[in-house]
Symmetry: C2
Subunit: 315 residues, 2 copies
DNA sequence: CTGAAAGCGCTTACAG
DNA sequence: CTGAAAGCGCTTACAG
């Protein structure tokens, strides 16, 4: 069922059908009504590929993500999808499974006019190479959470340095005297958190380590806090060092969610990223890039929502 | 950068460029090499919309899902994405946020030639209406986990009735004497689980309730088991009835994952669905539908992987 | 082995 | 208010 079929049935030109269906005011109401009625009867649906070809835009936006397990992936995807729908765009989520080949494949698709822009959460390729062609062609790209190692990119992320500092302060307030800092992921978000955590410890002369085990110079009586991006890192650390850690005495500080065994810790703090604000900011930047208003590259940091206490025992 | 540009530069016809780039053996090797070299130099990328228009296929498959929070969504999405990539398809995940309007919108897109087929996890519309046009046009559709209320559909799901029966048996083996059955979701998967759970209880004359609270005729000494699709349903029940339930004595049985507070229960059983098998089966059905080999509608049940014991205390 | 031509299903100046 | 024509960027019979 195409415009041509409808044109034949209504005995008008195909161009009139096209106009009528898009409610072009130039077509006579009577003609329009007839055409729309027939089109509905026949179950006409436009062929989007044809429309895209002539208009040069797709009204699709891609979101390229490593997997579906992390909150930083799930939540922005939901919020973006919602807010972009209202703007007339469809958000299409594609997974690269932390695989560099698949990642390049998906970036390549973007160069083939499948979308008008893309949100990217990178995690395998921080080099310029796979992005080169997109960047040369000024394809609208917005990075979320973490960014590649080159400067020609726009990124929306949490104010991770400040957030990590705040998280550490909470732990100190709860009695932490020594720290294990586990922000070891090799991405810009973890690097910022690491900096935020370590800076304050150096400033306050608090002993800390960034290794996988508890060092000898840690005082056996000093209360230990472990800070990390996810509870699984902390749990893993706990298991390796369970002989030295006392059950129910360690303090834990993580981002986003706590999924660990609570009984192991005396206090658990969770720093909540403001995913809704991140998504809204990313959507806004994308739309202005598509409109051609924002040629600039910038990194926008969103303040973390709050730090909540999942568990606190009085001592 | 289009075929036309390359044709001009190489001083050949556009059709020769098209053939050369697709390695048509008819073009002379020397010509092909020149063309491919130039195309690479110029960073040529085909316009997929144009190709789709002439070929009448997109090599895209959509997956339409309610949200990203459930394992039944996350895991099949990952496995499908992986296996379909190998077959030359891109899997595009779209979210309808449990919203009927958005859901219809996405189904409508499918009628507009955006994909060659779609995997659907329904949860708002079990009626025929929104699917009608797709079904009339024999658009390849594979439902996952749950299915709509009409028969013209192909579904891949867990053998939920058997799985629920097995889960109940585990609880009985662990000492359960009375049951709370919470499979209350209004979808085909929950209905099958409900049946599997209740059937065996009736057969074995075990007292059970399907309500939101513990009924009076429950013996106060008999060990209680609660079975549900997710741990959050059980936790919610526990909180409402915490005054009657004894801490650490109830038995819990759920599907997929345990996220609850373990200390409340004496035994926790988790029935693991075989998401990999579900995804593989769904992919296979989709491909044969696209190839036109499978006009049949069928429901395929995948045996649950296993029931694991997350917590068991000896008594 | 290569070219000229038609066509996929749309949109949109340009005439009338 | 409507039609005839060109064109978006490809692919593929059909000739030669």
């Amino acid at each position: 069922m195409t415009l041509k079929n409808i044109a034949e049935i209504c005995k008008v030109d195909i161009s009139t059908v096209s106009r009528a269906l898009r409610h072009d005011p130039r077509v006579r109401e009577q003609t329009r009504i007839l055409i729309c009625k027939k089109a509905a009867e026949l179950g006409y649906n436009p062929n989007l590929a044809a429309r895209q070809l002539v208009l040069g835009k797709t009204l699709n936006l891609w979101m390229i993500i490593p997997d579906l397990k992390q909150s930083i992936v799930q939540e922005p995807a939901q919020y973006l999808s919602e807010s972009l729908n209202c703007q007339g765009y469809d958000l299409l989520v594609t997974l690269y499974q932390n695989d560099a080949k698949t990642f390049s494949h998906l970036l390549n698709r973007l160069s083939q006019n499948v979308a008008d822009g893309a949100f990217i959460i990178p995690s395998v390729d921080y080099e310029l190479a796979p992005y080169e062609s997109l960047i040369k062609n000024r394809f609208p790209l917005v990075f979320i959470d973490r960014q590649p190692d080159f400067s020609e990119c726009t990124t929306v992320t949490t104010a991770n340095t400040d957030a990590a500092t705040a998280l550490v302060k909470q732990c100190i307030k709860a009695g932490a005297e020594q720290f294990i800092v586990l922000f070891n992921e090799t991405n810009s978000a973890a690097v910022a958190r690491f900096k935020g955590a370590v800076d304050i410890m150096i400033r306050e002369r608090i002993p800390f380590t960034t290794g996988k085990s508890i060092p000898e110079n840690f005082s056996s009586s000093g209360k230990i806090a472990v800070v990390a991006s996810s509870s699984s890192s902390i749990e893993q650390f706990y298991e390796v060092n369970s002989s030295t850690l006392h059950l129910g005495e360690t303090i834990a500080g993580v981002f986003d969610n706590w999924f660990g065994l609570s009984e192991r810790y005396s206090h658990i703090f969770v720093c909540k990223q403001d995913f809704r604000a991140i998504a809204n900011q990313a959507a806004e930047l994308m739309l202005s890039k598509i409109a051609g208003n924002s040629e600039m590259f910038q990194t926008i940091e969103i303040k973390a929502d709050q730090i909540i206490s999942v568990k606190a025992i009085s001592h």
